[in-house]
Amino acid sequence: MGTVYITQEDAFIGKTDERLHVKFDKKTILDVPLIKIDGVVVMGRATVSPAAISELLERHIPLTFLTETGRYLGRLEPEVSKNIFVRKAQWQAVGESVQAIHVVQGFVRGKLKNYRNLLIRRQREFPDLDLSAYITRLEQAIAPIDTTNSINSLRGLEGAGSAAYFNCFHQLIRATEFTFTTRSRRPPTDPVNSLLSFGYSLLRHDIQGAIDIVGFDPYLGYLHCERYGRPALALDLMEEFRPLIVDAVVLSALNKRLLTPVEFVTEPLSHAVSLTGEGRKTFLRLYAQKKQSEFKHPVLGRKCSYQEAFELQARLLAKYLMGEIEKYPPLVLK
């Protein structure tokens, strides 16, 4: 199963027989069986035929629209899951409830522990780096998580931990052509930030898909507060996956020199940096490969890919909220 990325501006997306058919300039540029597809992402503008829309909805394949540079615009979703019990449990835990505090602790702990493990691993790989100060700061943010019972304080710990991590992020980049000083977004103003933002956008598409399958309401989260049109739960569940997937892909793309400064363009006035068509394809391919890569799930004890892990984590969250399991275990990898 794979995701279709339509990066050609002004493409026409249609349906022939049971296949998705993408045309540009009256020429076919893609023709894939719908049974092989589990998501369609349109980057930039595209025309979608009525037949294709109804077929995608019928087959429960979400259609996501991003801008050319990867900013999230919106999404055409199949019918919301009929599983009312999951949504009921999700709504009952809203606010400063015991469950909400527990899952927020899980999200923050998952994210920060993955940050720490990433730093420890880099430290081991490159003995010339000195990351111990940052690792200590991360550990200082991790230690009080389990005893903190207010969501706002947990948000504070998350902020402190992320700050420590991004303060040493530039040391993780081994390619001298690229530098990183601080996280900038809306718009990202350097290549590294632009890759991070692009990666998080793609990750969000996947996580939102997973929580839809499980039957959550994506707009009600615990760590992220409600805001019009913001899929707070998707952002919550994303936290533990950010370092595992996006940061890892960005670092390997840069350090293995799969992307070079030639593949980035800067907009003159806003200084927004984005990828060229070729660079974007390289990055999308790396991201897709990462999603398919397998590891042993520490809680379930069996092999799974990151793609499956999105749904597994969402299911574990549902089980916790419905009282079927005692704890929500965030995905932490060594």
Partner: protein, 95 residues
Amino acid sequence: MNVIVSYDISEDKRRTKIHNILKSYGQWVQYSVFECQLSDTQYAKLRWRLNKLIKPDTDSIRFYFLCACCFGKVERIGGEPVYDDTVFFAECADG
């Protein structure tokens, strides 16, 4: 399941139709041979669609099943490489 579908259809128009249906279920590897990876329901649907179309006295379609272990051992020399179905790009060759 992994299925190799081969067909022998006497009439051009019908052959095109069969070919078109099979393209929605797997990869075309040779003239009148497809390799498909299908679930049970997908296979049932494909079989039903093909069965409706053919004339049994002049046409023939064969489904050969390969177990997961044998599928890994398929050797292919030349011809179309098997496509990677984890990511698809729709982009013009000239950008």
